[in-house]
Amino acid sequence: MIKKSVQKSLLALAVGVASGSAVAADHGNSDVDVSIILEGLFYNELSSGTSSPEGFGDSGHDHDHDHGDEGHQHGFEEGFGIGHSELAIDAGLGALLDGRLLLGFDDSDVAVEEAWVKTRSLPAGFQLKFGKFLSDIGYANSRHNHSWDFADRPLVNQYLFGDHGLQDVGLQGTWQLPTENYALLGVELLQGQGNTFDAYAEQEDVLEEQDSGPRVVTAFMKYGPDLGADHAVQLGLSGGYANQYVGGYDKHFHGTEPHTTAQIGSSWFAGVDGVYKYSSGKAYGEGDLRITSEYFYVARDLAQYSGDYHEEDGDYHLEGAIKGDSYTEEQDGFYVEGVYGVLPRWQVGLRAEALGLINEKWGGGHDTELDSLDASYKYSGQITWRPVEPVFLRTQFNHKDFAGDDGSSNEVVLQLNVALGAHGAHNF
């Protein structure tokens, strides 16, 4: 999973911080906290239908998460599964830095999901975070699945940003304003490792050079007024730009002549998000209500490229190739979900999602025609029981009405999630 040496050194840095702080463990902030999140899943497709929403099929996935033979599993497999388990190590370096190393694993693979350090000593409301981290755009993106209210990632996050959301190596700078209401501005420079938003077709013989990084920049703001003890709101705006997007790579034959095509250009997104929480003050979450919603729009300014024949190696290359017509793909997605504490330790939740309300996608081949594809919808309901704080058992029902030929489908997911060890405080 660790493809680049940058990542390796970042990991080494994070581990270094963790072990360094163990030595200095007599300082207040330098506890090392280890936590393990274990998950068990049972998934059953009650009736099958279109499995991937039209226009979002394989938009630049360079690793086979859903196919199961490389990396750890994120898509659900029929029957039992270990789900998404995590080992997290949080540590501080005195009052200077906080560090985190988070490994995601299933029964055969381990991946570094987070390895970062974050300052807690800069003046004037500034913080810097460096390493591999989950971007703070939107709301769900920066959260791990044990703190989601549903067993699966929102469609908009999965299909516009990837199976891990927007997760990358880079630098984040935030500034919290010295205002009475919470207001945060942030900027991220990310390497752009070829995830869904900044797809890159790694075809070394065809496209020799990826632009030098960082290839992705994002900006976000969050705002939260003080509404007293019962109510709380946080609103967010975010946007981002990837200066290199390479998708739709294809090598085919015209007669016996090999030929190479790809879509090359850039992409950008904008989104709004909001979360409202009502806190009843009763024990074990009874009467608490949480409503979350996000909308994201992505546009890709692309051109159709055809490969050039190179005498030296007798192959077709996209580098400096013939640029065809330009076009802009546009897609979006939205969800709204609500979770209510019906009884102490019992929650019920409903979620409605739409993907591709705008769904202008290149049709493939040599054409530069855009197809206006239909939107996909998904409706979910869940019941969660938390016998004790670190354990929950969830039953979720999904009705998927995806655009495509095979019609709608229904599925049920049972999820058991256990947090062991230090259970860190959760962000809002």
């Binding site: 300082h27 207040g28 902030n29 005195g94 009052a95 906080d98 974050k118 807690r120 000593s121 800069l122 003046p123 004037a124 409301g125 500034f126 913080q127 810097l128 630098l171 700078g173 935030t174 500034w175 919290q176 010295p178 205002t179 009475e180 209401n181 919470y182 207001a183 900027v187 420079l189 960082p214 920049v217 969050k222 705002y223 939260g224 007024p225 003080d226 509404l227 007293g228 003890a229 709380a232 709101v233 946080q234 200066n243 929480k277 806190s279 003050g281 009763k282 024990a283 074990y284 009874e286 102490p344 330790r345 004790v388 704080e389 259970h423 860190g424 405080a425 959760h426 962000n427 809002f428």
Partner: protein
């Protein structure tokens, strides 16, 4: 892109806040707010000190959301006073790690975690087979003991003195008066009670009443701090206490009352739902609360 980013970072500190502002003190609970308000009352009145309490009094301080408004308050705080010993660990670390305020990091003058300097009641989870639960650093609910609050008052006064060096003598003097008031009230209320009364508490919190009232804690409805009462545990309590002298059941208002009702039905013991924090962060609020707690027991006639 990198250059643009660095420019952004370099440019923003110019917009920083100006001088002449009050000293901003943020506390997690009304009990701690009472200490600050009473000790620094003249400074509060002259608006040299601005106090903000995070938790609303009716809430379980173990389980709060790390709200945006908490983040904004801690971002601007000069001094953050928390209970410590894990009471606020479900939410406060998420605030302090992200509030971008180096002044309130542990070890700084701007951070006072009171439990670290107090002798806490041991918890059943401090040692032994249940070690590592929510009260692993000892029972953090010392605000229910006015005698420990008197000790906390002195710590608060000294720390406030760091921010108001010219007023240090005044602050120490006021904390001395507050200590006396706390001790005298505790003594007075204690004398009113018929000694030897026994009680079961829902959580390891009101067992601190044992520290200043002539009463005795004989168990908890929770099998372990933070674990909801199980029917097995409740049945065991009933069996254990069936043949003994009657006692009473005390629980916080935000706790569910089923466990207390169960004991009431089986053993006929009276039950009391008590507030754990004063309605207002001042001496009157806290004094009333001491009276409410004492009233959960039988008074001498």
């Amino acid at each position: 892109m990198l250059r643009l980013f660095l420019f952004f970072i370099a440019f923003l500190p110019i917009l920083n806040a100006s001088a002449g502002e009050p000293v901003r003190v943020v506390v997690t609970t009304n009990s701690l707010g009472m200490l600050v308000n009473e000790i620094a009352q003249p400074l509060v009145e002259q608006r040299q000190l601005e106090l903000k309490v995070l938790a609303s009094p009716g809430r379980d301080v173990h389980y709060l959301d790390a709200r945006p408004s908490f983040m904004a308050a801690v971002r601007r705080a000069d001094l953050l006073i928390d209970t410590g010993a894990g009471l606020e660990e479900g939410w406060l670390p998420a605030i302090t790690a992200n509030a971008a305020n180096p002044d309130i990091n542990s070890g700084q003058p701007g951070r006072l975690s009171l439990a670290a300097s107090l002798q806490l009641r041991p918890s059943i989870t401090t040692t032994g087979p249940h070690a590592g639960h929510v009260h692993r650093h000892g029972n953090p609910h010392f605000n229910i003991d006015p005698l420990r609050m008197a000790k906390a008052a002195r710590l608060v006064a000294r720390r406030l003195g760091h921010f108001f060096p010219d007023q240090k003598a005044l602050l120490i003097k006021r904390s001395y008066h507050l200590e006396q008031a706390l001790k005298q009230t505790a003594e007075y209320l204690s004398e009113q009670l018929i000694p030897g009364q026994r009680f079961i508490a829902y959580h390891e919190d009101v067992d601190y009443l044992e520290a200043w009232l002539p009463v005795q804690n004989i168990g908890y409805l929770e099998p372990l701090p933070g674990l909801p009462p199980t029917s097995k545990h409740l049945r065991e309590l009933v069996e254990k206490h069936q043949q003994q002298e009657p006692a009473r059941v005390l629980y916080a208002r935000f706790n569910p009352d089923q466990g207390a009702r169960f004991l009431n039905e089986r053993l006929g013991w009276p039950t009391y739902a008590l507030p754990l924090e004063p309605e207002t962060p001042d001496w009157n609020g806290y004094k009333e609360l001491l009276q409410v707690w004492a009233n959960a027991f039988e008074q001498k006639s």
